[in-house]
């Protein structure tokens, strides 16, 4: 009984995940968190430096929010991914070289994954098979075989 329930939950999670750019959004949010982690200077010192110190916190927070919003509201993913990639690039200047490069790379990768994501795609194997079939049909299309293919 509990096993059933767990399987149900897992299936529900898989469905939820497949309807949104899950890995991209997750990577982007994690990147924001990582940059924030490297930024944990005492707030007193940061306020000491002023505006630029605050920007160092602002950009990773924007990354984190964009990553979460991508998961919550995938229909706006293009906008979020563009803001996310810009914020990630900005952290190079404002926040410890983008959280010592790690956050910058994660953020850019995540944003690109979100940008490239499309809903309702056929599985990769199907696509490969179909493309191969199309190529075969294009390169050697004797009228007889083509007719046979269409009949199938």
């Amino acid at each position: 009984m509990p096993g059933d329930r767990r399987r149900g939950l897992r299936a529900a999670f898989r469905d939820w995940r497949s309807g949104r750019p899950f890995w991209g959004g997750l990577l982007l949010a994690l990147a924001g968190a990582e940059v924030l982690l490297t930024m944990k200077a005492s707030l007193k010192v940061v306020l000491h430096v002023g505006m630029q110190g605050v920007a160092g916190y602002l950009l990773p927070v924007v990354m984190l929010l964009c990553g979460l919003l991508v998961l919550v509201n995938p229909s706006q993913r293009l906008f979020y991914s563009l803001i996310g990639v810009l914020a990630s690039l900005g952290t190079w200047v404002t926040s410890n070289l983008g959280g010592f490069v790690v956050g910058l790379l994660l953020g850019c990768t995540g944003s690109c994954l979100v940008f490239g994501w499309l809903p309702d795609q056929e599985s990769r194997r199907d696509r490969r098979r179909r493309r191969k079939a199309a190529r075969v049909a294009r390169t050697a299309p004797p009228p007889l075989e083509r007719g046979a293919g269409e009949a199938a």
Binding site: S81, L89, L118, R131, A134
Partner: protein
């Protein structure tokens, strides 16, 4: 939906399961699973310019054309430089608080007694910064060439500071709230011992820091790497 950047003939830019234009020969393969997927060419449209900008930023920083801001803490890290020249120097005691429940707190109650040094304009030769990550060190070096590292409003919270120092017009024993030589940033809490000087020169500088911030940090000849030994 966005521009059809995906150029494969079967690219489904729209979610509707219309069959690919040229692949009518295999109509049964068109059924979609209802799952989203990342299309690599589409992702590359953003990935290529992002990679280019990242490389550009790294190059600009390494040439010293672009300033970078640093602010790290929680773990102590070491900064060394063969020479430091600064204009406008102030130094006072302070107490840094770690985040509540920080694993680095130990038996200190989460507080570290630090010396805060503020330098309005600083130039450093052969800067090296290392953080011990347990087993390996993250090492950042810069300013080894002809151009020196420069920083504005450089603020460091250190627990240890050593080197051969020379000061011009030093005043020792001021109240930290009355300091004026390092600008508005170089002022501490009232009732705290402090000292200030017009200029400072330190040779073979070595600091153990809990926090460094700088308005602008220019790092010509930047190199970042992991290393078995620190600075």
């Amino acid at each position: 939906m966005a521009s059809s950047s995906d150029l494969t003939p079967s690219a489904g830019n729209t979610p509707d399961p219309v069959s690919g234009q040229e692949s009518g020969t295999v109509p049964e393969a068109v059924a979609t699973t209802g799952r989203g997927r990342v299309r690599l060419r589409r992702a590359a449209v953003l990935a290529v310019p992002a990679a280019a900008v990242t490389a550009g930023l790294a190059i600009l920083t390494a040439q010293g054309a672009l300033g970078v801001q640093f602010a790290i803490s929680g773990m102590p890290f070491t900064v060394t430089a063969t020479e430091l020249d600064g204009n406008g120097f102030a130094q006072f005691g302070g107490l840094d608080n770690m985040a509540e429940g920080s694993p680095n707190a130990g038996d200190t109650g989460g507080q570290v007694l630090v010396v805060t040094s503020v330098i309005k304009e600083a130039e450093l030769t052969k800067l090296c910064q290392s953080v011990d990550l347990g087993g390996t060190n993250l090492l950042i070096t810069a300013g080894g060439g002809t151009t020196r590292v420069s920083a504005k409003d450089l603020t460091t919270d250190s627990t240890e500071l050593s080197g051969d120092a020379a000061f011009d017009n030093i005043e020792i024993g001021n109240d930290a709230s009355t300091l004026d030589k390092a600008g508005p940033k170089g002022r501490g809490p009232i009732g705290v011992f402090s000292q200030q000087a017009d200029t400072v020169h330190i040779k073979n500088l070595r600091q153990t820091n809990y926090a460094t911030t700088a308005g602008v940090f220019k790092l010509p000849g930047l190199k970042m790497r992991f290393s078995g030994s620190g600075c």
